[in-house]
């Protein structure tokens, strides 16, 4: 479903500030697979996701979605294939649009937008309200409220619904619970697992928590220094626990994991 081949990317190339963010990443994700991506700060997790979404272009290498090469496609061209939830709750929704308008915008993703009224008649509104009530966040009665008035958890849940409203090839979750309080984070995470399981979505989720990276999904990738360090799935993954990941990290890199957040959470 998704192939990243020999991906290289350096930010600010040729300057003293040059940062090699991806240094030869190869990744093949099968249809319906839920991959969690973990790594220290600067490991290249978010860069990899941004490259797949189209926000940054690779210096070298290729990206294929469902057999189609998209390496040089712009973000908006890929958007019909990719659903996306951002880290920052404010980033994935529009504060100045109502809940219903945000959903209507997502409902026309990938199709040519016309001068038809974006908000459909009663039928569409009821369908959206039904979808919202499934989130169980009390948003079904707030279709007309500005998204800016929602809580962080509500906005991420709305973002998630917007991302998964239409059929797509890949769902990208970029630390989408990192900015939430623990309660809301757990709710949104469970919601993500529920929706991806139900619709059998091919998913890439970056997380900062080793615990979550093993508890959710069916494949775990650990990145370090712009490369994929560790890739566990299937039966092998069932035997893994957080200390095993830490050990493996130490064995492969020769250093301890220094990112406290990775260990503690």
């Amino acid at each position: 479903m998704l192939s990243v081949c020999d991906a290289f990317l350096t930010f600010n190339p040729g300057t003293p500030l040059a940062v090699p963010a991806l240094r030869g990443v190869d990744l093949d994700v099968e249809e319906g697979q839920f991959v969690t991506v973990i790594g220290t700060n600067g490991a290249g997790k978010s860069t990899l996701l941004s490259a797949i979404a189209g926000d940054v272009r690779l210096d070298k290498g290729g990206i294929y979605i469902d057999g189609q090469e998209v390496t040089n496609w712009r973000t908006e061209q890929r958007a019909s294939m990719i659903g996306r939830v951002f880290q920052e709750p404010r980033a994935g929704t529009c504060s100045g649009l109502t809940v219903e308008e945000n959903l209507a915008l997502a409902a026309s993703r990938g199709s040519r937008r016309s001068l038809r009224n974006a908000l459909g008649r009663g039928g569409q509104r009821r369908r959206l309200a039904d979808q919202l009530s499934r989130l169980d966040m009390g948003m079904e009665d707030r279709l007309g409220a500005m998204a800016g008035t929602l809580s962080g958890g509500q906005r991420q849940a709305l973002s998630l619904l917007m991302a998964t409203l239409l059929p797509m090839k890949i769902l990208i979750l970029d630390e989408h619970t990192a900015a939430l309080d623990p309660g809301a984070a757990a709710t949104v995470l469970d919601l993500s697992a529920e929706i991806t399981g139900e619709q059998k979505l091919t998913t890439l989720m970056v997380t900062h928590s080793m615990r979550n990276s093993l508890d959710y999904g069916d494949r775990t990738i650990m990145m370090n220094g712009g490369r994929i360090l560790l890739d566990v799935h299937g039966d092998a993954r069932k035997g893994y626990d957080v200390p095993d990941l830490l050990d493996l990290f130490k064995k492969t890199t020769g250093t301890e994991v220094e990112d406290d957040q990775l260990i503690l959470s």
Binding site: A53, D55, E76, S95, L105, S108, R113, N117, A118
Partner: protein, 310 residues
């Protein structure tokens, strides 16, 4: 203030409400500080005036003026989107170029439409409200354009436009091309301004190359007054605010002029406009930024009181 002065102020207010609607689209919805307006307003006037003195039907001439404004907006947006020229500079470049273009279009610095057929003379046979006739016709235009903008921003394209202005990254992720939205929005915005210029020339009976100076500031003043009074979150109220803001602003100016308030004369208009906009912007920032306590400072200055010691 005489009835004639009031009628004049209302006419000007209604004309500038169209400019305010355009400025709302560019400055607020698209987040594009567009200075093309100072050029597209006289361009609309010039194109319409030239068409009319060549015997073109006034309604068609109005459409021509509107379309001319639309093209000006397109050029600014294209410079910004295609060649990545800073949005502010793109607008200024178009505005400067339009000064020469307007002179070329008219062939001279001004054209009088006195005695020519305009859409106002066309309507005079139908409705006759004395000195209020022009205001009535302009009111129809202003309300129609307000409703048109409301409708437009509620369509699928309109939603994409609003998202693109407010959150470009999110818009891209929803398959919105931000560049295309900038071009569409700027074209519509300046079409409204061109229409305002066209109606200005026809109602005042003259198109002048220096007509545009300060148009943007007046439009902004109307927009900000409207936002202060009616809020800016819902499109319906924001566009209504453009109408009411422009009317109030022109009535206030007319009152100040006729009362000889502070000795203000007609030539001081742009200065007064700039000062009003500056104060309005400062106040709206002060309200948003709680660390900048404007009123307590002002109060202590005005009342000359020392902070009380506890």
């Amino acid at each position: 203030m005489s009835a004639l002065a009031v009628a004049g102020a209302i006419e000007a207010g209604l004309l500038f409400s169209l400019v305010a609607l355009g400025v709302y689209l560019s400055f607020r919805v698209l987040n594009f500080p567009d200075l093309t307006v100072d050029g597209s307003f006289p361009l609309g006037a010039a194109a319409t005036a030239v068409a009319i003195i060549h015997g073109v039907n006034p309604f068609l001439a109005t459409v021509i003026g509107t379309f001319a404004g639309c093209c000006a907006g397109f050029v600014s947006a294209f410079l910004n989107v295609r060649f990545r020229i800073l949005n502010l500079l793109a607008g200024i470049l178009t505005m400067v170029a339009l000064y020469s273009i307007n002179l070329r279009v008219m062939g001279r610095p001004n054209i009088s439409l006195y005695g020519e057929n305009t859409i106002f003379t066309a309507f005079e046979g139908v409705i006759d409200l004395g000195i209020w006739t022009t205001s009535a016709i302009l009111l129809v235009f202003a309300i129609a354009m307000k409703l048109l903008v409301d409708w437009f921003l509620g369509t699928q394209v309109g939603l994409a436009l609003r998202a693109s202005g407010e959150n470009p990254a999110m818009a891209r992720a929803q398959s919105v091309s931000n560049g295309r939205m900038t071009i569409i929005g700027m074209s519509v915005s300046n079409a409204l301004v061109g229409l305002a210029g066209s109606l200005f020339a026809q109602s005042q009976g003259v198109a002048d190359v220096s007509l545009g100076i300060g148009t943007i500031v007046t439009g902004l003043a109307a927009l900000i007054i409207g936002e202060t009074l009616l809020g800016s979150t819902k499109v319906f109220w924001a566009t209504l605010g453009c109408l009411i803001g422009a009317l109030l602003y022109r009535l206030f100016i007319a009152a100040a002029l006729s009362a000889g308030f502070l000795g203000i004369q007609a030539q001081d208009l742009n200065l007064v406009t700039a000062v009003v906009v500056a104060i309005a912007v400062i106040l709206s920032q002060a309200r948003r930024n709680s660390r900048f306590k404007f009123w307590p400072k002002m109060r202590s200055l005005l009342m000359d009181t020392q902070p009380q010691k506890g």
